[in-house]
């Protein structure tokens, strides 16, 4: 017994030594993942992708020699667990560089905390759209695209489909949405665009979790819309596809939000999903050189994070890889300014996220040409792209329909500024003056 105690104590001290030794020369990224519960499939794919990419960076020499380190904490997609995870990890291993909760509820719970702790938070493709205004939301980065940009891009796509935005006049578009903050987020943009282009917007909410949609789809059949926008989450998506099949609504005329556009959303619907179109902020596939590298160097070495290696290149996995790439690029950018080969502070990483310049050439160098759109952020614009791609499910995989494209950016930006200004007034925040920022 005494021996055991002794060795346990020894282990403890060793542990302490080991973690401080690690702390000094690695860039620490906390990973607030969820691998149990209703959204486990998405969570394990996404965070698996991020970790795979971090592993790849470490295997190829780190960022100018700086290795990445990370620690996972299970949030169960629950706001309070997520906050605890964040608090637990933020000071570990020399401090968190950036955090990505992949959950709207957790992101809201962290909103004030990250500003106070001065740790940048990214919200890739979710969360509140007004956070794109970096003047008010200094520490929040909805890098890539927000829901509002996506909504605008969807209308743009529908306009292309009918042969010009002016032809949308008199068309009927149903917004079938998850009745929550998430589903309601794009409504202002849809309404503004409906007024501008003269289409009729029919809003039909689905109560959480949305596992029966008989009434909604009968309403849709009654209304005979030209298109249905599916702004769904979780089990609501396959159920919507099945119910569409049930009332005979063509899946080709359904347009899903990106959270309704992964394999997890269509496979349960089986054949009913064929022809369905969804938005995406990144492209899936295993052919990108970076995915090949991950396959060879990480999975080949048996260090892959996905339990089911066949999920490589799936939507969630590639999204995670893209997230990893953007974070690594932000750190690299920060190192360019603050010193190569050094571990960046959270504030420096924030600077990097604010000065991202991922041109098409740079994305190609990363081995990810056309995997995600060019991103150029600034002090005022924390979104940096606003471009969305549309893809169609053919029963086996998502096939691209369009290149990355944006909608009415001016309108979206105007709404972002207004909404952020309102938030700032309510919270008594003085917006930063971006002309004075370096």
């Amino acid at each position: 017994m005494k021996m055991m105690m002794k060795s346990a104590l020894l282990g403890l001290t060793m542990l302490g030594v080991a973690s401080t030794a690690v702390a000094q020369d690695t860039q620490f990224i906390p990973i607030l993942s969820y691998r149990v519960g209703p959204y486990a499939a998405g969570g394990s794919g996404y965070f698996g992708g991020a970790i795979d990419y971090f592993n790849l960076v470490n295997a190829t020499g780190g960022i100018n020699g700086v290795k990445l380190s990370w620690e996972e904490c299970e949030t169960e997609y629950n706001a309070s667990r997520g906050v605890e995870c964040y608090e637990r990890l933020k000071k570990k291993h020399g401090g968190a560089s950036t955090v990505e909760p992949l959950s709207t509820g957790i992101a809201y719970g962290l909103l004030d905390r990250v500003a106070q702790d001065k740790i940048p938070m990214t919200t890739f493709g979710y969360g509140s759209a007004n956070a794109a205004d970096g003047k008010v939301f200094k520490w929040v980065f909805p890098v890539g695209t927000t829901y509002w940009s996506q909504a605008a891009a969807m209308v743009e796509y529908l306009g292309q489909k009918v042969g010009g935005l002016d032809k949308l006049k008199g068309k009927k578009i149903v917004h079938l949405y998850h009745d929550s903050a998430f589903g309601k987020e794009p409504i202002p943009v849809f309404e503004a665009l409906a007024a501008k282009h003269g289409f009729e917007l029919i809003k039909i909410p689905v109560a959480h979790p949305g596992n029966t949609q008989q009434s909604q789809w009968l309403q849709i059949r009654q209304a005979q819309p030209d298109y249905v926008i599916l702004w769904g989450w979780g089990v609501m998506n396959p159920t919507a596809l099945k119910s569409a099949a049930k009332v005979g609504f063509p899946r080709e005329k359904m347009l899903g939000v990106w959270w309704a556009g992964s394999e997890e959303d269509v496979i349960p619907a089986g054949d009913a999903a064929k022809g369905y179109v969804s938005a995406a902020f990144s492209a899936p596939g295993t052919n990108f050189p970076v995915m090949q590298d991950i396959h060879k160097k990480i999975y080949g070495a048996g260090k892959g994070n996905l339990e089911d290696p066949t999920r490589q290149g799936s939507i969630y996995h590639t999204r995670g890889v893209v997230y990893g790439m953007v974070i690594v690029e932000a750190i690299r950018k920060a190192q360019d300014k603050f010193g190569k080969g050094k571990v960046m502070t959270p504030d420096q990483v924030r600077w990097g996220l604010e000065h991202l310049d991922l041109s098409e050439a740079r994305i190609k160098e990363l081995g990810a040409a056309a995997m995600f759109p060019p991103i150029k952020t600034s002090c005022a614009d924390h979104e940096g792209s606003g471009m969305v791609r549309f893809q169609q499910w053919d029963g086996k995989g998502f096939k691209p329909l369009t290149p990355f494209m944006a909608g009415d950016k001016a309108l979206v930006r105007k709404m972002v500024d207004e909404s952020a200004a309102k938030y700032a007034a309510e919270k008594k925040i003085t917006p930063r003056d971006c002309s004075k920022e370096g």
């Binding site: 209703p38 969570g43 008989q214």
Partner: protein, 297 residues
């Protein structure tokens, strides 16, 4: 008017799907007074076990009995390990135990089969019947009709089991009074084992039907929430109550969403059944078919 009937029939048919889940609750409550919240988790566990087994290239006809055995064993184990030590505890404690059990089963299911979302095809197309849509312009799904048929068979056989067999009589005796049943020599634990086994079977059937509609995924556990208003409307102890309650809830919920929903902003399906059940209970506090509670000092 066609539209009204379409919604009504669609609602009745979805109500049948609710009843299937509610049946599992009723069985266990009737025999042991346990409000088994883990029924939703059992539905998920059953469905994912079935799909998991078929992934080993095993034909569905063999996978079904295998999953049935798994479910029955699960039921027996739960009865023996969890509920037997808790005999005579307050109902609320038993209820909370089953929530703990739900966590356990959910974790076990994802541990065994992974978190991947799967599809499930039962060979029944969820498409409208052509002759109905041609004749009346209504869309009635083949799948829904088949599900209704399954539910009807299940209820009839359960009703027969309860009313016509020796086991059924014993079950009813146990439900009435545990101690008296023991006193006349009914093997209580054996009976409870049977009930949990049957509940596992019902969970499997519900899991397959719901799974082929929603996909086999964690969200199947949410179907329990659809079953609760059915239970209070129909009465916790009544098998016909589960069916009638399901039909009422299904039909009114859909009609309300279509006709009242747009007036208040929609999405009312989440709470409407509960409100309906609540109003109903104010009139009949023991549910539609529940046993009249006679209370003495």
């Amino acid at each position: 008017m066609t539209f009204f009937f379409e919604v009504l029939i669609g609602g009745l048919l979805s109500g049948v799907m609710y009843s299937l889940v509610a049946l599992g609750f009723v069985l266990i409550y009737k025999a042991s007074g346990v409000f088994n919240f883990a029924q939703g988790a059992m539905v998920y566990f059953a469905a994912i076990t079935f799909v998991g087994v078929t992934e080993f290239d095993i034909s569905p006809w063999i996978a079904f009995p295998i999953s049935l055995i798994v479910m029955v064993v699960l039921g027996l184990v739960v009865e023996k390990v969890v509920l037997r030590p808790l005999v005579n505890q307050p109902q609320i404690t038993l209820f909370m135990v089953t929530i703990g059990l739900a966590f356990f089963i959910e974790g076990l299911a994802q541990l065994m089969w992974g978190a991947n979302v799967r599809g499930l095809e039962l060979g029944l197309q969820d498409v409208p019947l052509e002759w109905v849509s041609e004749r009346w312009g209504m869309s009635i799904s083949k799948f829904d009709l088949a599900a209704a048929g399954v539910a009807a068979i299940l209820v009839t056989s359960l009703a027969l089991l309860f009313n016509r067999t020796r086991i059924g009589r014993a079950l009813r005796a146990v439900a009435d009074d545990h101690q008296a049943a023991l006193a006349v020599g009914i093997p209580l634990q054996q009976i409870w084992g049977i009930v949990w086994g049957v509940a596992g079977f019902v969970a499997l059937v519900a899991g397959l039907l719901w799974g082929s509609r929603n996909g086999v995924q964690f969200a199947l556990t949410f179907v329990a929430l659809k079953a609760l208003p059915v239970l209070i409307l129909g009465g916790f102890e009544s098998i016909p109550g589960a069916i009638v309650g399901g039909l009422i809830i299904g039909a009114t919920e859909k009609l309300a969403e279509v006709y009242i929903g747009p007036m208040v902003g929609g999405g009312i399906e989440g709470w409407f059944p509960y409100m309906l059940a609540l109003v109903f209970l104010l009139v009949r506090p023991e549910g539609l078919f529940g046993e009249k509670i006679i209370r003495r000092v």
